[in-house]
């Protein structure tokens, strides 16, 4: 059952990504050139809704469907990794015009070439997995 929910939520997210046009390479260049509010509005209001809902769920001690108390743990702070990794991902975001979610959505939208980008991304993860201990974190 959990797997069916995961699939449905993914379908919902994929549909939203396309309707929001955030999967568009054109939109990403526009964002980095500060020529439209669209992407900033999307990301900003998504954070606002996310933050408000997490606060409310914690405030009211909401339990998940499986009965566990909802209390997501924040990602650990690793300043060097966050910054250097972030910069490298930023390079890739502007080149491909896609972050990981949109990569899958673009393949679904008919851009089969983005399968190559996904394979490259896997290669990147593979390379990181091997270099991890030598990199500053």
């Amino acid at each position: 059952m959990k797997h069916i929910y995961a699939l449905l939520l993914g379908v919902l997210f994929g549909g939203i990504l396309v309707k929001a046009e955030v999967v568009s390479w054109f939109r990403i260049q526009e964002m980095f050139w500060f020529q439209s509010f669209h992407m900033y509005g999307v990301i900003g209001s998504a954070i606002a809704v996310g933050a408000l809902s997490i606060w409310l769920m914690k405030r009211f001690g909401t339990k998940s469907l499986s009965g566990e108390l909802i209390n997501p743990s924040p990602k650990p702070l690793q300043i060097k990794a966050n910054l250097f990794g972030g910069i490298i991902f930023g390079l890739g975001w502007a080149l491909t015009g896609a972050c990981p979610g949109p990569l899958y959505a673009l393949v679904g939208s008919g851009y089969g070439i983005m399968l190559v980008a996904i394979l490259s991304a896997m290669l990147g993860v593979f390379a990181y997995g091997h270099l991890k201990d030598k990199l500053p974190h």
């Binding site: 699939l7 379908v11 919902l12 994929g14 939203i16 990504l17 396309v18 929001a20 568009s24 990403i28 260049q29 526009e30 964002m31 439209s36 669209h38 509005g41 990301i43 209001s45 809704v49 996310g50 809902s53 997490i54 909401t62 998940s64 469907l65 909802i70 924040p74 990602k75 702070l77 690793q78 966050n82 990794g85 972030g86 910069i87 991902f89 930023g90 390079l91 890739g92 502007a94 080149l95 972050c99 990981p100 979610g101 899958y104 673009l106 393949v107 679904g108 939208s109 070439i113 190559v116 996904i118 394979l119 490259s120 991304a121 896997m122 290669l123 990147g124 390379a127 990181y128 997995g129």
Partner: protein, 188 residues
């Protein structure tokens, strides 16, 4: 109502809709919103590596792989069944600047001149797709998240590490868009 389905969504509908993924995933699956770790699970699933980084029970993260398969499927359903215009609603200024750099085709979500199999061996495509994809994978794992995990889920929790990561995203992205992209497009 039907128009809302067929037109591209303005930011004030699209953004909150994306933000709702956070409580939905927490409530339904008790999972934190994030997409990029799926790339790691795919690597672990293929089990071609002996690195410690890939030695974990990826089957416990199956939900994430199913979720991204859903993303693929959902986008496909919209592309197939929801009629939409052929142009993304970018600003005139962006279209003009891209025209000036050599982009001639603005139909679809991405420029066909770069993002199509027929150009797979051209330098611009190799840089944008192959190198760009590598950076997306390497960078998200190194940073510990992407736009969904850090920018949306992380900033929703006021995580300092996520803020640092998002600043990094923009340093890298601004560098490419302002300084590198003109040279790449001159290869077209």
């Amino acid at each position: 109502m039907l128009q809302l389905l067929t037109d591209p969504w303005p930011w004030y509908i699209a953004g909150p809709a994306i933000g709702l993924m956070v409580p939905l995933l927490l409530f339904v699956l008790n999972k934190s919103f994030g997409v990029s770790s799926s790339l790691k699970h795919l690597c672990a699933m293929c089990s071609v590596s002996n690195a410690r980084f890939f030695k974990y029970d990826w089957k416990k993260e199956t939900w994430n792989l199913i979720f991204v398969f859903g993303v693929f499927l959902g986008a496909g359903l919209v592309a197939e069944y929801v009629p939409s215009g052929s142009l993304v609603g970018i600003s005139d200024a962006t279209a003009e600047r891209l025209s000036g750099m050599g982009i001639t085709d603005f139909t679809g979500l991405m420029p066909e001149q770069i993002f199509s199999f027929s150009h797979i061996l051209s330098p611009a495509t190799l840089i944008c797709v192959v190198l760009g994809g590598f950076f997306v994978g390497f960078g998200t794992r190194y940073a510990g998240g992407c736009t969904s995990g850090h920018a949306i889920m992380g900033l929703s929790q006021f995580s300092l590490g996520s803020l640092v990561a998002v600043i990094g995203f923009f340093i890298g992205g601004l560098f490419v868009s302002w300084i590198v992209l003109p040279s790449i497009l001159s290869l077209l």
